[in-house]
């Protein structure tokens, strides 16, 4: 009996979780797209999708059905096998890397991998083959150009992102994802405070790695139609799309785990300690947030044009209310106390990931697209030197910290000077760049794969 349970726990539980993730993720990605479209509409003073469901809430499902029944076109001169393989590779790598992520202390598909963060980063980096091979297999110049740009961009920014990860990992001394969050819990400080420069570097590099605007050169529609996706249609195209949005979730989760304290509540280290009871209102924040959303939905209900839409709005309100109650239970009901970390951990993790993705979207509609040589120069001439200097200085700061026996917030005494020196170095790099550019016309810079 014991052996059977052990066997089920080892092999079937992760399998079932994996199937569940693969089944739910397209829906999540669809709703991220909806939020993105709504946000874009809001920033451009439009309404965005409004037709399907109240406020377009069912739009992702309509889109999915449309993509599924679209004609699947394979160009005559395409390399059929590779054309078939490429989108699968892209989406497979992105979904596989999700397995290593921990959403809460209890939710992790591949439990306690020793190489945790490296697994996530390394596997998700393999998705680039989907892009490169897809661009090559379509046998079209636009696709090939997009694929080349994309691979050049990914390889360049992987270095900067890796260096940023190294500077954060110096604080933890472990690669295990759960231990990384636990170290932040013990130290009582998130690594974004200790390594702000690394966080900034990772932020920029992760935007470039997920091919998002302002670095979405591989899909620059004004130059390359749709880049590597030009020849793909219907379901294959949607696989690429799914991979892109899954990758966004992956980089946001990695940043959350490493820099933003994972599933920890703000001020989690003083949770329940005397003298800090005023901060305990943070336990109620999840419930309050969801109840506020529910109340907003109810207020908006009478304005819906049809009866079905009104019902739908009420259903959304009810769902939010129920989830809010579930989140309230571990705080109020004594029996549910043991589930506090699991339930609230999931909430905080998802909230942080959502805010990170929201920031991506915000940037996309605010900053115009870079030119390809500008992108390459930003990566190689600025971010990579900056991140290398940062690793060096964070290491020095840590040695100084262990010499003075500093912990937690005390570490700020040594890491802040390190960050300031890094910033000075960054300004010097920028000044040197400007001086170099003064010699010749920046627009005549090397037109490397410029389209």
């Amino acid at each position: 009996m014991q052996a059977t349970i052990e066997f089920l726990k080892l092999y079937w539980a992760p399998l079932l979780c994996g199937v569940a993730v693969v089944a739910i993720l397209p829906l999540i990605a669809g709703y991220i797209v909806l939020v993105e479209r709504k946000l874009m509409a809001d920033m451009q003073a439009r309404l965005g999708p409004m037709r399907v469901g109240p406020h377009g809430l069912l739009q992702p499902i309509a889109d999915a059905v449309k993509l599924l029944i679209k004609e699947d076109i394979i160009p005559d001169n395409a390399d059929k096998m590779v054309f078939w393989l490429a989108p699968v590779l892209s989406v497979g790598a992105a979904l596989l890397s999700l397995a290593g992520l921990a959403i809460g202390p209890a939710f992790q598909i591949a439990q306690d991998i020793n190489i945790g963060i490296l697994f996530v980063v390394g596997i998700s980096a393999m998705g680039i083959f989907g892009i490169v091979l897809g661009g090559w297999a379509s046998n079209s110049h636009y696709s090939l150009m997009g694929a080349l740009r994309s691979s050049a961009q990914l390889v360049s920014y992987e270095t900067a992102a890796g260096m940023a990860l190294v500077s954060a990992l110096l604080f933890t001394g472990t690669l295990n994802i759960k231990s990384i969050v636990e170290v932040q819990s013990i130290e009582g400080i998130w690594f974004v405070m200790l390594a702000p420069v690394a966080f900034f570097t990772y932020l920029v590099a992760s935007i470039a790695e997920t091919n998002r605007a302002p670095f979405d050169l591989p899909e620059a529609e004004s130059e390359l139609v749709a880049g590597y996706m030009t020849e793909f249609s219907g379901f294959r195209w949607s696989l690429y799309f799914l991979a892109e949005y899954t990758n966004m979730i992956v980089v946001a989760s990695v940043a959350t785990t490493l820099f933003l304290g994972g599933w920890l509540r703000p001020f989690a280290s003083v949770h329940g300690l005397p003298g800090f009871h005023l901060l305990n209102f943070l336990d109620l924040v999840p419930t309050l947030l969801l109840v506020a959303i529910a109340a907003y939905c109810i207020v908006r209900t009478p304005k819906q044009p049809t009866r079905v839409q009104q019902m739908f709005m009420l259903a959304v309100a009810g769902l939010c209310f129920v989830v809010g109650l579930v989140l309230l239970a571990p705080v109020v009901v004594p029996i549910a106390k043991p589930f506090y970390a699991g339930i609230h951990g999931g909430f905080w993790f998802i909230l942080k990931v959502s805010l990170y993705i929201y920031f991506f979207m915000w940037l996309r509609f605010t900053i115009p697209r870079y030119r390809f040589d500008q992108l390459m120069r930003l990566g190689w001439h600025f971010l990579i030197p900056l991140s290398i200097i940062n690793v060096l200085l964070v290491g020095v700061a840590l040695i100084a910290g262990s010499y003075f026996n500093l912990h937690g917030w005390g570490l700020l005494l040594v890491t802040t000077p390190a960050a300031i020196i890094t910033l000075v170095a960054a300004l010097m790099i920028l000044a040197a760049e400007k001086q170099r550019d003064a010699g010749h016309d920046p627009n005549a810079a090397s037109d490397f794969y410029a389209g």
Binding site: V82, N114, I128, F129, L148, S151, L175
Partner: protein, 172 residues
């Protein structure tokens, strides 16, 4: 049982894709099979509980070197390249070397039972929990036992990197 099945699966995939990589005429297909072979080898590393080597194999070889390979291959016009003189004309030398290698491996297998202390050492499997974490083991042996060779190797790589930059600069 499961372990054995997984090992034979990975080994079969590695060997088959290595053979396919050499025999394909299309270079990109060859590259894909090389990637498959590297991934299968990574799987075998993982089975040996060398998870750090597994991920390094994937990040460095698959994610780094192979991307650059594919990058270069795609820039070459395949139709033109096929009509040019091929440099792969060392068929007989290759056969000789392969035979010598096969003989060496065969000798090792053959001698493992015959001579004590020679050939393949027979090891018993350790429990997974008794093994130290692989990344720590690698770090300790690199930075404690083999610090000097490690530094020499990194200087060598640095020299190669600078050399590549200098050569590329001259052409520009």
């Amino acid at each position: 049982m499961l372990d054995k099945a997984l090992f034979y699966f990975f080994a079969a995939v590695a060997v088959a894709s290595a053979v396919l990589m050499v025999t394909r005429r299309n270079v990109v297909h060859g590259a894909i099979f090389l990637i498959t072979a590297l991934l299968a080898t990574a799987g075998i590393f993982l089975q040996l509980r060398a998870e750090f080597l597994f991920i390094v194999q994937i990040i460095l070889y698959v994610g780094g070197i192979m991307v650059l390979f594919v990058f270069v291959i795609m820039l070459v016009n395949l139709d033109v390249a096929l009509q040019q003189i091929q440099f792969a004309r060392q068929k007989w030398v290759a056969l000789l070397v392969a035979l010598a290698l096969a003989g060496q491996v065969g000798l090792m297998f053959w001698s493992s039972g015959k001579m004590p202390g020679q050939g393949l050492p027979v090891l018993t499997a350790a429990a997974a929990s008794s093994l130290p974490p692989n990344s720590e083991t690698v770090a300790h042996s690199l930075f404690e036992s083999y610090l000097l060779p490690f530094e020499i190797a990194s200087v060598l790589l640095l020299v190669a990197m600078i050399g590549a930059v200098v050569m590329a600069k001259k052409r520009m």
